[in-house]
């Protein structure tokens, strides 16, 4: 039970607002020490795991592209494009993005979209410009609109990708069940993702459209 001390460190650390990077390392140390490994072994285990999760960093290869385009006025351009069409509603814009994101993830194109690739340079400025066509924005409205854009990207991705047969989640489930002696057809695994995807779309779209009416 002592190994759960790491979980406690996470909860307390996040609640207190300590630097998350520091909380993470402290949690790893706490659980490692509680499980009876020494400090050296725990640090080595952390280093090993960190280095072998390096594929996560690859997404940052997009930074020079986006940075360069932004410095040459990408966000201004996007804003201009939207601002020209009066009457674009924020909610409706995000509903169409949600649909595109879910469908593309469901056919295996989960790399379409993403916080650095599309939310910051394109979607967020679009949403802000759409809101501005209805009148000037106050200071607190801007971050809220951006948060809606980020959230919509996440929801579209999560409840789209599981429908795709070769997705990591489906492969992981299949592997896990195979170890337990159950030969699961990938088709049946992704079948259950469909009603959930439809419900997630309806629920989020309803919230977005209700936002428009306010």
């Amino acid at each position: 039970m002592l190994v759960l001390s790491g979980v406690a460190v996470i909860i307390i650390g996040f609640a207190l607002g300590v630097n998350p990077l520091l909380v993470t390392v402290l949690a790893a140390l706490a659980s490692g020490l509680a499980s009876g490994q020494g400090v050296g072994a725990t640090v080595a285990a952390l280093g090993h795991a960190f280095v072998h999760d390096d594929f996560i960093a690859i997404g940052w290869l997009v930074l020079p592209v986006i940075g360069l385009l932004e410095s040459r006025g990408l966000r201004e351009r996007v804003r201009l494009l939207v601002a020209r069409r009066a009457g674009v509603r924020v909610g409706r814009l995000l509903v169409s993005y949600l649909a595109v994101r879910q469908v593309s993830a469901a056919i295996g194109l989960s790399a379409i979209g993403g916080q650095a690739q599309s939310v910051r340079p394109v979607l967020a400025p679009m949403v802000e410009a759409a809101a501005e066509t209805a009148g000037p924005l106050d200071a607190s409205a801007r971050p809220r609109l951006r948060a809606w854009a980020a959230a919509t990207d996440n929801i579209g991705l999560f409840f789209g990708e599981d429908v795709f047969l070769a997705m990591g989640a489906v492969l992981l489930m299949r592997g896990m069940l195979l170890q337990a002696g159950v030969a699961a057809d990938p088709w049946r695994l992704s079948l259950w993702a469909v009603p959930v995807a439809v419900f997630a779309f309806l629920a989020h779209a309803a919230r977005l459209l209700r936002r428009d009416r306010r």
Binding site: V25, S35, F50, V51, W60, I66, G73, L74, W192
Partner: protein, 335 residues
């Protein structure tokens, strides 16, 4: 088989470039902090897998120490808004092309690369096709962006000759560094949390959680066991930030022995819906840094919870739907 090693090394080289820009591009006393942070990260990405684990771990601690003291990104002009507007007017639609190339090429490449075979084996590691496709797309889009946004010739003629080439070639690195600095340590957090998940699994945190749950559950309550499986997926995902980390633990701890073994539930419907319940947890936790913390840094949002607050109602509604659907189908479809 082509994997992601080359792309990781390239990403490392990019961060090394950011570190060098900090070191040679600014003259305040705090520059060493950011330079060291990105520099150590670059080393870990480029040669980390070849170094001893203990050294890797110590370098990780150095990075975390620097982040905890506080990185001091140098101020670079966000004030040239007018120049950006002029440039937007000049380049017009050309600006959008590379931005759209990234997702389109990534999608196209992942479709094209997946079926390729070389000497009877997959040419690209099937588990990493998306990442390989994304890195290729980024490289091509960068070349396109540099070419499409190149300065007009007269602007170059105004510069001294020895300034022209570096000005053109370094621009992506300078601007990429600006974005990396805007995120700061948040850029490293997803990888660090994934590492924490691995350490948790190695220490047996999952087993402790499922033992805790199994001890509490009453006998002969199939519905409750299923509910515990679903909510356990959510809770463990909230703690680890990753439904993939929660899935093996909960499935081995509660799902297979109780729901399937004792009460005869359908393992396929159970796992599929359980994983999706975990995804609802991902929407609710700051531990899922890629999705919930990185955008806070990227978009300059006021609070760590800004994105989560927006997601929570949708996540909760979907979760309730999943839990009800589970009760309806898991025990029925097996018989």
């Amino acid at each position: 088989m082509i994997g992601t090693q080359w792309a990781c090394a390239l990403t490392g080289a990019m961060f090394a470039g950011f570190a060098l820009l900090h070191l040679f591009g600014r003259f305040d006393r705090a520059r060493w902090r950011s330079a060291a942070f990105w520099g150590v990260y670059a080393v870990l990405l480029m040669v980390g897998p070849y170094l001893p684990d203990l050294l890797d771990g110590s370098l990780v601690l150095v990075m975390v120490g620097l982040a905890a003291i506080g990185l001091r990104p140098g101020r670079i002009g966000d004030e040239d808004a007018r120049r950006r507007r002029d440039s937007a007017r000049r380049l017009r639609g050309r600006l959008l092309v590379p931005a759209l190339l990234v997702p389109l090429l990534a999608g196209l490449f992942s479709l094209l690369l997946r079926p390729l075979r070389w000497q009877g084996r997959a040419l690209v590691d099937p588990a990493q096709v998306t990442l390989v496709a994304l890195s290729l797309a980024c490289i091509i889009a960068l070349v396109a962006a540099m070419w499409l946004t190149r300065r007009p010739r007269y602007a170059l003629l105004l510069m001294r000759r020895h300034q022209r080439l570096p000005h053109q070639m370094l621009a992506p690195l300078v601007e990429g560094r600006r974005l990396a600095d805007a995120m700061g340590w948040a850029a490293v957090l997803p990888q660090m949390l994934a590492a924490l998940g691995a350490v948790f699994v190695a220490c047996g945190v999952g087993e402790a959680v499922s033992r805790l749950a199994a001890g509490v559950l009453p006998e002969a309550a199939p519905g409750l066991a299923l509910l515990a499986y679903g909510l356990g997926m959510v809770a463990l995902t909230i703690v680890t930030g990753n439904a993939f980390a929660a899935f093996p633990v909960m499935t081995a701890g509660i799902g297979l022995p109780l729901v399937v073994g004792r009460y005869g539930g359908d393992p396929v419907a159970m796992s599929s819906l359980g994983m999706l319940a975990g995804y609802c947890g991902t929407l609710l936790t700051p531990m899922a840094a890629t999705f919930n913390i990185v955008p806070v840094a990227l978009l300059g949002l006021p609070s760590r919870w800004s994105v989560i607050r927006v997601q929570a109602p949708t996540g909760a509604a979907v979760l309730v739907f999943i839990l009800i659907l589970m009760q309806c189908v898991v025990y029925r479809s097996a018989t």
